[in-house]
Structures are given as structure tokens and as C-alpha cells.
Amino acid sequence: MSVHTEVALAGLRLRNPLILASGILGSTASLLVRAGSAGAGAVTTKSITKEPRSGFENPVIYELEYGLLNAIGLANPGMDFFKKELKRAKQLLRIPLIASVAGSRPEEYADLAARAEEAGADAVELNLSCPHVKGMGLDVGHDPKLVREIVEAVKGSVNCPVLAKLSPNVTNIVEVGKAAIDGGADVLVAINTVRAMVIDVDSKKPVLSNKYGGLSGPAIHPIAVRCVYELYEAVGDTVPIIGVGGVMDWRDAVELMLAGARAVGIGTALYTYGLKAFKVILKGIVNYVKEQGFRNLMDITGLAHKYS
């Protein structure tokens, strides 16, 4: 008996539930295509802003035993340039292309989203959660009222599905998630990185030039599981959830799915294991689902709520 790996996500059809998470390898059409060829079910671009951003000075990354700390600083060429990359990616990709956008104000998000859709994006993801850039991402994403306004504005400017990427760096992620849904979000994405810092004991200085960064990888996986579980408990199947955070192997992915995720974002694992992570993790999920006696990967979404 074969297992169906396809996943439906607010009008998007994914051949499998593994999505290239935003911020990793998504800076050019060529890299997005490479992730697609490696087996991703969908790909997300690095967050694009209105103006070009050079990001922070090096060091922008530091590895810990349990994850990666980064503050790239939303480096990106700006939407004017990136539209070309989106067009090329759309021409070459056979899987959904999700454009991540970041801004400060609702109109800015709406404009960026509209231009991304026009250039070929199949969906837009709103970065409401980058933890290390002033005035963007988390700085707007912690305020439920502003989140609702942003999503509303974007919904008014595009026809494609709108994904709201949430931060764990808030007191109540459910409140923000609900605000996004009230604004019309078609999918919730949880979580972005966790705001963190590393200090070098010899020089007695924070390692990252920006001092603060976002922690990804195994360290934050249980936080992601908790967030997805809480969100699913609150919204059920009404709005699908993409679970992201420290997925290093199939068990981590299945955990997020059992917590309520219909699809799963992959990021740090691509650094640790390379692009083969997509195929390795998918194979593991398929085996699990088969052994558990299900026909579809989607069948296990939220199962942990039944048994708790």
C-alpha cells in the first residue's frame, strides 16, 4: 500500500510537506531551483524588503552545539531587483514558490506582496517575526493589532494565499496567530528563530556584530512544537499551520505534524546535512506514516491532540 505525500495548503498543492524555510538558500532563483531539485515540496525566498539591504557586518553567524545563532540582518537586493529572480524562479520551478516579504507598515507589506505576486510568486509569506532588525519583523509582529492590519492590507492587494510567519518571542503566540487569521491569513507559519546572544569569554564581547541574533536548530525544536500545538488547539483545521523550528530528522518533522502542522519548514538541517536533508527526512516521514497504517501524510496532522 502506497502512501500519498501530497499536501493541500490553502489552495497550494505540494508534492510533499517539506518546505524550504525562509532565510536559508532562498536568495537567488538558482538556489531556489537547487532546493526544488533536491526534493522540496515548496520553496520560500529570503525575506525581501522595499529597499536593498546590505545586512549586518560579519560576524553574522555562530554555531553552538545545539543550533545556529544568526543575525544576517535581512540582507537582500530589494524588490526591484528581486522581481527578476522571482520571475526566473517561477519559470524554472515545478513546485510552489513562496515569496517572503518584510516591512514596517501595512501599506509597505501590501505593496511588496502585490509586486511579488505579479512577478510570479504562488503565495506570499509575511515576515512578522525576524528577531534582530529594528522596526521590522518582530518589531511589528509582536503587536496583534498591527499584525491584523498588515494581513488585512496584504489580503486586499493580492489574490494568492497569504502566510503569516509568527514569532515565538511573544507572551502569547495564539493571540498573534488569531489576529493574523482575523486579518484574513490563509496559513500560519510557526516559528521564526528565538532571540538570543552569545558572548566570547576571551574578548568579553558579544560575538555577533549586531549583538543579538536568532537561534535556530535543535535548541528551539521543542519551542516550535509547543507553539504549533497551542496554535492548533486554538484554530484546529480552520487554518493550516506550517511548523518550522529545528527539524533535523523525520522524528522532528512528525512531532510538528502530530502537534498540528500540515507542512514542515526545513532550514538549519540543510546546513548540517546539506540539500539531501529533504529526501532523507521525507523518506522517514513516509515510513512512519506507513507503519502507523495511514494512507496520507496529512492524516497525522494534529493527532497528538486526540491522545492528550
Binding site: S54, I61, I72, A75
Partner: protein, 281 residues
């Protein structure tokens, strides 16, 4: 922890070391020895990210490495904020931190006849490669090109190891007159080599790679791009159309791969990721 297993392969946490020796062979180049607290296992052509606390972090080619002494050698050209600080302020005994080695280096071929072609500071990775090639019983000829006599450095490092060393300057003020490409065309017989290694300005490398392809000689080139993370995540150093990352899939690429890279010799990306033409000089 699962993460630890992989970090044995790609190590990111900083390795500490102290500046062991410093010397300026020419005004804009600093040669720096660092005695490391922990052993490295570098391959020729790989690079490290050197962190100067409070100043910044830069990618640098591994110029040489002595396993016995744990001493790493770097060639640091004065080009920007961090390298200027290093040139002006770094002194013997200073604590530095680095991560790596990263990337894919040169193929160390056994019992072969090799040609190394370097332009200016592009000679940085080659002292290490020459030693490794000699250990592998290969013979090495070296062509070093500089703008003018006052820019010539490190020649002695190659002369006593290589079978033949050719030095050329654009204005003929030292050694042969002309570019490294002129030397390849006029002085050596390129068909006599099993492999050519090249590092320097990208237009020059493109010319060398093209020459090698014309004569059916295997060739490897070490590319330079603006790098941020150094580990293949951020996408700053991507080559189109294959999506190869200079930091992780390179910096050394074979001429077979380079033939498929439309950016090679043409364009790179600025700090924001916008593609711009590679400047002529």
C-alpha cells in the same frame, strides 16, 4: 546530541590562537602566522573566517599550515576596514579567533606535472598546495604575475620548492614583461601539464581556464566572492545558473564546472545581493 556529530565534519565554533609572527613583504600585504590552540585539518585551497573581536570577521585563504607546530599562515591584503585594522594594529601575541577550515580546496594530484598560475595576492593559497603536491610526488612549475617590481613578494617561497618559477610584471620592472597569460602562451608549453591551478583576478582566471580548455588540460580555479556566513546558508556568494555557493561548493571549481557558470569572469553580487559586473581591474 545529534548536532555534535555533524560538527565534527564542519566545525563552526571559534578556534583561538595567538599571533606568532608578522611581516610586511610589501606595503599592502601582511604575512601573518597564527599559533592555534587546537589542531586543524585543512586542505590546500580551503579558507578560514578570521574574527578580530570588535572589528569584524573576514574570509582568508589558508596560505600554509604546519601540523607539527600548529601554525597557520595567512596572506592579508589591505583592502577594507578589517584588513586595515589588522595591518595597523595587530601585533605579536594578540589573541585572534577563527572558524573553519571551510570549502572545497584544490585536488592534490599524485605523480603528475603541475602548473600553478597566480596573479598578485592570488598566490596566497599556493605555498600550502606546492608542499602537498611535492609530498604526493608531483612536480610543480609556478608562474607569478605582479603589476610592477614594488608589488613583487613571496617569490622565494616558491623558488626553493618549485621545479621552475617564472615571475612576470606588467611593466617588465621585475622578471619577464607581460601577464601570466603571456607567460603561459610564450614561455611554457601548457600541453605538457597534467593540471593547471589558478588564482587571482577573475578575468585573468577566465583567460587561463579558456586556454586550458582549448588545449584540453585539466584546470582548477579558486574564486573570490563577498561572503557573509561562510557556511552556505546566507546565499551571498551564489554563482548562477547552477546555484553553487563559493563558500561551500567552492571556492575551488574545476574548469568543467566553470564552463557552466555564466557569472564566471562576468559578474558578482554586491553586499545586498544585487548582481553587478566584475570590475576590469
Amino acid at each position: 546530541m545529534r548536532f555534535c556529530v555533524s560538527s565534527q565534519v564542519v566545525r563552526l565554533a571559534y578556534i583561538k590562537g595567538r599571533v606568532h609572527g608578522l611581516n610586511k613583504p610589501i606595503e599592502r600585504v601582511l604575512w601573518c602566522q597564527i599559533k592555534l590552540d587546537e589542531p586543524l585539518k585543512p586542505e590546500p585551497g580551503q579558507f578560514v573566517m578570521l574574527w578580530i573581536p570588535g572589528q569584524g570577521e573576514i574570509p582568508l585563504s589558508i596560505s600554509d599550515y604546519s601540523v607539527d607546530e600548529g601554525i597557520l599562515e595567512l596572506v592579508i591584503a589591505k583592502v577594507g576596514k578589517v584588513t586595515t585594522y589588522i595591518h595597523e594594529r595587530l601585533k605579536e601575541g594578540d589573541l585572534v579567533a577563527l572558524r573553519g577550515p571551510y570549502g572545497r580546496g584544490f585536488s592534490v594530484v599524485r605523480e603528475s606535472t603541475c602548473l600553478i598560475v597566480a596573479g598578485g595576492c592570488g598566490l596566497a593559497p599556493f605555498p600550502f598546495l606546492v608542499r602537498k603536491l611535492l609530498e604526493a610526488r608531483s612536480s610543480v612549475d609556478v608562474i607569478l604575475g605582479f603589476k610592477t617590481a614594488s608589488e613583487v613578494f613571496h617569490v622565494a617561497k616558491f623558488v626553493h620548492l618549485a621545479r621552475r618559477t617564472f615571475v612576470a610584471t606588467d611593466d617588465g620592472s621585475y622578471g619577464l614583461k607581460g601577464t601570466v597569460v603571456d607567460v603561459i602562451k610564450d614561455v611554457v608549453d601548457i600541453k605538457g601539464y597534467d593540471i593547471v591551478y589558478v588564482c587571482g583576478k577573475e578575468k585573468m582566471m577566465k583567460a587561463v581556464v579558456d586556454l586550458c580548455r582549448e588545449h584540453n588540460v585539466r584546470c582548477e580555479a579558486s574564486l573570490e566572492r563577498y561572503m557573509k556566513c561562510g557556511i552556505g546558508i546566507c546565499g551571498a556568494c551564489v554563482l548562477d545558473p547552477l546555484g553553487l555557493r563559493v563558500c561551500r561548493d567552492g571556492p575551488v571549481f574545476s574548469s568543467t564546472i566553470l564552463a557552466l557558470i555564466e557569472d564566471f569572469g562576468q559578474s558578482w553580487r554586491d553586499h545586498c545581493g544585487r548582481k553587478i559586473p566584475i570590475p576590469e581591474s
